[in-house]
Amino acid sequence: MGTGIGARVARKEDARLLSGQAKFVRDLKFPRLLEAAYVRSPLAHGRLKSVTIPEKYKDRVFTASNLSDVLPIRPESTLPGYKASQQYPLVKDKVRFVGECIAICVAPTRAEAEDIAEQVIVDIDPLPPLVNASDAKTRDAPRLHDDWDDNLFLTTAFDGDLEFAEKNATVVIEREYNTARQCMNPMEGKGTLSYWDDKAGQLVVYTSTQVPHLIRTGIAQYLQMDQGQVRVIAPDVGGGFGYKCVLQPEELSVSWVARKLKRPVRWVEDRREHLVAGANTRQHHYKLKAYADDRGKLLGIDAEITVDIGAYSVWPFTACLEAAQAGGNLPGPYALEGYRCKTYSVATNKPGFTPYRGVARPGVCFAMELTIDAIARAVGREPADVRRENLVPGSAMPYTNVTGKFYDSGDYQHSVTEAARAIGLEDFRKRQKEARTQGRFLGLGFGTFTEQSAHGTKVFAAWGLPLVPGYEQAMVKLTPSGSVEVRSGNHSFGQGLETTIAQVASEWLTVDIDKINVLMGDTGMTPYSTGAYASRGMVMAGGAVSKAAEELVKRIKIHASHLLQCDAKDVALKDGKALSGAASVDFADIARAWYLRPDQLDEDVDTAGLEVTQGYKPDIDTGVFTYATHAAIVEVDPETGKVSFEDYYVFEDCGRRVNPLILEGQTYGGAAQGIGTALFEEVLYDPSGQPLTSTLADYILPGPAELPHFRLEHSETPSPYTRHGIKGVGEGAAIAPGGAVLNAINDALEPLGVELNELPATPHKILSAIMDADRPEEVAG
C-alpha cells in the first residue's frame, strides 16, 4: 500500500520523539550559554515603585529601564471601540497579574539564576485587584489600564430579530453558565534561546512556537529591527494547543539580553510558571435566554457573553478573538432564526487571554448543548430528538447561518442519529431506569458542534486583527539524489503535520514518505507561513504542498520526456519512477541529469528547475466546517460526587482523512483535554488575586485512569472548496466534552433535582449541589 492521502501510516517523527532523540529548546547546547530566571510579580495589581538589584549582580539583572529600546506589545484592532493594552516585556510601571515578569536574571545555570532572582527586591504599592470579570465590569471598579475609561477591551452586539421568537415561544429557558479559567499544559512549556550571529548579522531565536514566521515579524517589530536581522527557528516543540501561537514577552526580553551580552541566553518555563503566569484561557460567563415551541424547536437565543480576558491583549490575535468567536459561533450547528448577542471582553488581573484548542467554542458549545437539553426537559422529549430536529439539515447545504457563517457541506443530523445508535439510546433508557431502582445514577449526554477550520483572510480581517493570514506557501523539490524534500513554514508540534504533508507529497510524487524529508519551523529555510493555529495546518500547508507537488510532477515529466525520448504527456509516475510504455527512468536519474549532468538534457530544457514553491488558498475564505456529535454515558456516585465513564462515542466528519491513524490520535487527545475541561481543570484565585493552583497537585489534569475508552467513527464529506476535500480537525474533539459530559451528569442527577451549569463538575460542586437540592431519600434509592 502506498503512503499517500488516506494511508494509515505511523508518524515519521515518532522514531525520534519516542526514543528521546528529539531536540527541544531545553536540549540545545551552546558554548557560554546563560540561563535565565525571572523576578515575577508577587501581587495581582499594584504600582511598581522600585527594583533593587544587589551591587554584585548589576550586570546579571535587567529591568524595564534597561530595555528602553524595546516597544511595548500593543496589538491593535480595527474593531470599533476596541481599546489597546500596552504590555512591556518587563513591567515598567504597573503589575497587572501575579507572575508578570519584572526583571530577567542570567547565570550559568538556572539554579544560580534563581538564586539571583531571589535577591532582587521589588517594591510595589498594592492596588485593589480585579479578580473576576463581573466586578471588573462595574462602573466604579478600579481601572486596570490608567488611560481607559472602563475595564472593557471591547463590547460587541449582534442585533438580530427576536420578535417572532418572543411572540411564538411556548417555552422560555433562562440560564447562567460558567466555564473555568484554565492552563493549556503542553508537555513542554514555553522555551526560548537566542544568540547573536555575527556572520549572518542576525539574531537567531530558537523558540518553542507554533508560528515561527509570525514570531520573527513580532520580534523584529518590537525590538525595532529589520526582519532580515532576525531568524526564528522552532525546533521540536512538545505541544502547543494555542499557548504558543502568540508572541511571548519572554521572547523579547531573552533576545534583548542575548543581543546585549553577545552570549546565548535561554529561558525555559517550568510548570509552576506555567500554572501561574500561563493561566490564560477558557473563562467565560453566559447569560442566556432561549425561546422554543412546545416541540422544543428553537426560535431564538438572546445571549450575553462575558470573557474574562485578563490584563493584556496578545499579539497578534488580540483580546477580541475569543469574544468575536464566541458571539459568532454560539448558534453553532443549529438552524436558528432569531439571535441577539452582546459580548464583553473584560480586563482583569490575570494573564492575558490566549486562544486554546477550540477557541471559544468549548464555551459556546457547552452553553448551547446544556440549553438544548434544558429545552428537551422542559418539553418532556428525548434530548437527542430535540437536538437532531434543530440542527441544520444536510439538504440545506451549503447553508449560511444567522451570523453569516457559511457551512460548506455535511449532514449534521446524521451525526446525532449515528451517535444515538452507537451509544444504544433506547436500551440505555431502560438500563437507566433499572439502575435508579438500585440507587445507581446513570446519565447520557450529547454534544454536537461545528469546527470552523482554516478560516482565512476575510474572517480574520473581520476580527480586526493586526495580522491576517492569506496564502500559505510550500516548497517541494527533488534533491540531486532523487529523493523528495518538502519545506513548509508551518510547524509540526505533536499533531503529525510532518507526516501528513509528506503524505500529500507522496500522493503526487508516488514516493514513499520514508524518502520524503520534511523541513519545518526554520524561517531561514522555509517559505513564509503564518503558522499552525485555527485547524489550518492540514488544509493550508497540505494544500500548498499539493499545489507545489503538482507543479513538480509537471516538471519531472518534462525532464523525463527528454530522457525517455517521448512526449511529456505520455509520461506517468509510479513508485518514484517516470514511465513511458515499457521504458522508465528513476527520479534519481532525472535529478542527476538536471543537477549533475545537464549535458544529457536537450538544449530547450525547461529551466524552471526541480525546486517548486507555490502559494495556496482554498476557494473560499470563510473556513470549512468539520462537525461531530459526542455521546457520553456516565455514572455519578451521589455519595462521593465522582463521575465515571461507561461509554464515550464520537461520530465525526472532517472531510477527506489524510491519515486516519493521526486523526484518531488528534480526536483522543482533544477529547481527553475536553474531559479535563469538563471534570477537572480549574485555576482558582483567592480574593486578592493570588492563584491557588500553582502545582499539578492542585491543578488536576485527567490521567489515563480518568478517561473513558473512546469509540470513534467517521464519515467523509469532502469539502468542495479545498484541495483533496480536506477539512481541519486538530481542535474539534476538545469542543464537545464539556457539553456532553455535563448533559450526562444532569441526566443522571435529574431525580435528585440537580442541574449543574458550571465547569468543571468537580466532586465538591456535585456534592454541594446534591446537598442544596436536599432530597436524601432519592440518594438512598
Partner: protein
C-alpha cells in the same frame, strides 16, 4: 523551580549518619525517598544547607519479626509493601494501603518513614498506621532511643514529635489475630493524587481492639473512640447522621462536603471490613 545550593552527604552506615546529625545545625535535612522533600526543595520551601541521605542505609531497611510485633525499618519503600515482599502484621492491609499511594514511580522511591516524618495530612500511612496502633521509634544523635505512639507522633499538618537531632528509625506494628478485620477507604480527584477524605477501621476481637480513624482532615489523623466502640459492639455500619454528628464534635471547622466525604469513607471502609472473612 530549582533548589538552593546545598551539600549532599551519603553516609555508609547509620552510625556515620548519626555522627553527621550530631555535628550540624537546624539547617540539615534528612532525605529518605526524596518524594516529598524533592518538591519542597524545588519550590524552595525547604532551604537546607546540608542533606543527609539515608535511603541506602541497610540498618534502616531491616525487618524485625518479634513475638506479637513486627518492626519495619524507616527506609522501606511503598513498593516493597505493595509487592508483598514484607511480612504482614494484619492480612493484606499494608499492601492495600501501599498500592494506593501516588504512582508506581513515586512508590519505587518513597518510604514509609519519610511519609510519617513529612506528616502531610492527606497522606496514607499516617492514617493507616494510626488505625493499626503503630509505635514509632526514634534515635537521637546522642544515641538515645524513644518510642511514641502514632497518636502522639503527628502533632498537626507537617508537624511531628521529632526533634531536629533525631531520626525516625523504625515503625513497630502489633500483630493481629486471624479474626482481625480492617477497612481502608479514600476518595481522590484522580488516581494517584492525595486524598480528599480517608477513613479506616481496624478491629481484632481477640485483642479487644477497635479503632476508627479519619484522615485527610486539616491536621493529624482523628481517632473517634465512640465510633470505634459503636462499630465493635453493633457490628453494623453507622449512619451518616451519626458519623457527621461525631465529626461535628471532633472537627467542627471542616466544611460540610469534607464531613460528608469522611462519613461516606467510614461507611464504605466499615462495610469493606465487615464483609471480610
Amino acid at each position: 523551580m530549582k533548589p538552593v545550593g546545598f551539600q549532599f552527604a551519603q553516609p555508609d552506615t547509620l552510625a556515620e549518619a548519626m555522627q553527621m546529625l550530631r555535628d550540624v545545625s537546624e539547617d540539615t535535612k534528612i532525605m529518605s525517598g526524596g518524594q516529598s522533600l524533592g518538591p519542597m526543595l524545588n519550590l524552595r520551601l525547604a532551604r537546607p544547607e546540608k542533606i543527609i541521605s539515608i535511603a541506602g542505609l541497610s540498618e534502616l531497611r531491616e525487618v524485625d519479626e518479634g513475638e506479637g510485633f513486627i518492626e519495619f525499618g524507616t527506609a522501606l519503600r511503598h513498593a516493597e509493601f505493595e509487592d508483598g515482599s514484607l511480612p504482614e502484621p494484619i492480612s493484606g492491609m499494608m499492601r492495600h494501603v501501599a498500592k494506593g499511594i501516588a504512582y508506581r514511580a513515586v512508590r519505587n522511591r518513597g518510604t514509609i518513614g519519610g511519609s510519617l516524618c513529612h506528616a502531610d495530612p492527606a497522606a496514607d500511612w499516617i492514617t493507616a498506621l494510626t488505625a493499626l496502633g503503630a509505635t514509632v521509634r526514634m534515635v537521637s544523635a546522642q544515641g538515645d532511643t524513644r518510642d511514641v505512639d502514632m497518636t502522639r507522633f503527628i502533632h498537626g499538618a507537617y508537624r511531628t514529635e521529632l526533634n531536629s537531632d533525631e531520626l525516625l528509625k523504625s515503625v513497630i506494628l502489633p500483630r493481629y489475630s486471624s479474626s482481625a478485620v480492617w477497612g481502608y477507604y479514600k476518595t481522590c480527584r484522580k488516581v494517584g493524587e492525595f486524598a480528599d477524605a480517608i477513613a479506616s477501621w481496624v478491629a481484632d476481637p481477640k485483642k479487644r481492639y477497635s479503632r476508627v480513624v479519619f484522615g485527610a482532615t486539616a491536621g493529624a489523623p482523628i481517632v473517634s473512640i465512640p465510633l470505634s466502640r459503636q462499630i465493635a459492639v453493633t457490628g453494623i455500619v453507622p449512619s451518616k447522621e451519626v458519623i457527621k454528628a461525631e465529626l461535628e464534635r471532633l472537627a467542627p471547622d471542616l466544611d460540610r462536603v469534607k464531613k460528608h466525604l469522611l462519613a461516606v469513607a467510614l461507611q464504605r471502609c466499615t462495610k469493606q471490613a465487615l464483609n471480610h472473612d
